[in-house]
């Protein structure tokens, strides 16, 4: 009888132990699942932020490009630069002055298609074909796009094809 009672007690003990273990396992897996969801959501948020940042950079590039190609102090008409104005701006305006108009953290270069690169200074105009604004800081990471542009060569009264590179520092 005593042995039977002992056996029943040990079985009860085993049963409660197994219930406790069951409970512990469930809680453990629940916590694991919660952590997994948290990590997944954090990863998702981070990748969304990166996507947003990339979109924002592209929008900035387009904004600077559009503005550059429509500003009366740079163009002969919309989408056609005036080389005399480009040259005058490189002489007169520092990057800080241009940043008040176009914002910060960008650079633009404009080059006529043909010929070796000759930086335009006021002294060598019109015998030049390359303009730089807010000179590129090669140490900083940036994203850039190239756009085909027209450049009106005022002295020669002709239009040349060129390429404008617009970069945004990240």
């Amino acid at each position: 009888m005593k042995a039977l009672l002992k056996e029943v007690a040990s079985m009860d003990k085993l049963k409660s132990q197994s219930e406790i273990m069951e409970y512990v396992f469930i809680v453990f897996f629940l916590v694991l699942i919660i952590f997994a969801i948290i990590f997944f959501l954090t990863y998702w948020q981070t990748s969304q932020f990166k996507l947003e940042k990339s979109k924002e950079t592209e929008n900035r590039i387009l904004f600077v490009a559009e503005h550059f190609m429509s500003m009366p102090f740079l163009v002969k008409e919309k989408l056609m630069f005036d080389d005399s104005k480009l040259t005058a701006v490189t002489k007169l305006m520092e990057c800080e002055d241009l940043q008040k108009i176009f914002g910060k953290n960008w650079y633009v270069t404009i080059k006529v298609f043909d010929g070796e690169k000759k930086m335009c200074r006021y002294s060598n105009y019109p015998d030049c074909n390359y303009w730089e604004f807010c000179v590129e800081n090669k140490g900083k990471e940036s994203k850039s796009y190239n756009f085909p542009v027209n450049i009106y060569r005022k002295k020669e009264n002709r239009v040349d094809m060129g390429v404008m590179k617009v970069g945004i520092y990240e």
Partner: protein
């Protein structure tokens, strides 16, 4: 059970407290997002020149918002909620109280340079009260009207309307105020009407613009006719300002009597912002164009080029106190002369138009 009830009460209390704070915070976040979206629209309109309607401003009250500028930093949109959104596109900005707005581009053409700016405004009705009736008054009204977009094309539901006031608004177009194209036709009609001063109380989106030889003692917005250089005095709430182009007047028409949280009229903020940007750019670009013409002047037009170069150099050095009648008069005189020379260069084929 009692313990459970107490714990539940505390949890409920903190939840409600948090929801209230969170809802307020989220509302501010949404307002800022709407303003950022409006800023993108402003950029688009600035480059394209095509006016658009923006609907999201209908959700909240943005009537306290204005663009603030200091000499060292980028202008920012400031409101009575945490904002401070940078905006580099020149904009005359009044977004109204829970209203859709129209975003259009205006300009001041100096010939050798054009100053573009964007106008943001809800539907408003501009009611002219001309106490002097002559050709100059009518031309003046026409110049002001031209700065507003023509909303009669059915593209937008926001309407900009115009009317005359003879004691009460006349409602000239089928019992209503006119849109721009119809109002410009009205201005072509013979005009010896004999208007009485406006004596009615304007509604929220109505703006009364009094035009008189002398504005002393007249409240609201009153414009004295300009001199031959296009410069005149403008009185707003009995305070005198100087206007030199229709855009200065636009600043006072758009915001009406609205004030910021410091009690400063938004119109004054707009006027200060617009002129700070304009004077800075005038100085810069007149010098730039002078350099450009020095290199590219054509022999057959040399004398005109030299006069223009001298004038541009002078304009870049002139004092630019936009509150001084004398300074603005001298500036405008030189600007008009420069424009005339530039136009003659175009006629002679020495410059492109």
């Amino acid at each position: 059970m009692i313990f459970g009830a107490i714990v539940s009460f505390f949890i409920l209390y903190f939840l409600i407290q948090y929801s209230g704070t969170y809802a307020g915070l989220q509302q501010n976040v949404q307002k800022v997002e709407i303003l950022k979206s409006l800023r993108e629209q402003i950029k688009q309109v600035y480059t394209s020149g095509i006016y658009e309607q923006f609907n999201y401003t209908k959700r909240y009250d943005f009537s306290s918002c204005y663009i603030n500028t200091t000499s060292d930093s980028i202008p920012k949109i400031m409101c009575d909620f945490p904002s401070g959104i940078p905006i580099i596109t020149p904009a005359l900005f009044y977004a109204g109280e829970k209203e859709k707005v129209i975003v259009s581009r205006g300009s001041t053409d100096y010939g050798w340079w054009v100053f573009y700016f964007v106008e943001v405004m809800p539907g408003i009705e501009i009611i002219f009260s001309p106490l002097e009736e002559n050709e100059q008054t009518w031309n003046f009204i026409r110049d002001i009207v031209y700065l507003f977009p023509d909303t009669s094309d059915g593209k937008t539901t926001v309407k900009i309307k115009f009317d005359f006031c003879d004691n009460e608004p006349l409602k000239l177009c089928n019992g209503k105020a006119c849109e721009r194209s119809d109002f410009l036709n009205v201005l072509e009609l013979p005009h010896n009407y004999g208007f009485s001063p406006c004596s009615f109380n304007p509604k929220k989106n109505q703006r009364i613009v009094v035009i008189a030889d002398s504005c002393k003692g007249k409240g609201g917005l009153c414009l004295e006719l300009p001199n031959r250089n296009g410069v005149g005095s403008l009185y707003f709430r009995n305070k005198r300002f100087v206007y030199k182009d229709p855009a200065d007047i636009l600043c006072f028409v758009l915001a009406g009597n609205k004030e910021d949280i410091l009690g400063i009229p938004l119109a004054e903020r707009m006027y200060e912002y617009k002129n700070t940007i304009l004077m800075e750019r005038l100085g810069l670009f007149s010098e730039e164009m002078k350099l450009s013409y020095e290199k590219t002047k054509k022999e057959q037009c040399e004398s005109d080029y030299l006069r223009l170069i001298n004038l541009l150099g002078k304009i870049s050095r002139l004092p630019k106190n936009y509150l001084s009648f004398t300074d603005m008069n001298e500036l405008n005189e030189n600007l008009f002369e420069a424009k005339q020379i530039y136009e003659s260069l175009i006629e002679r084929g020495c410059e492109y138009g």
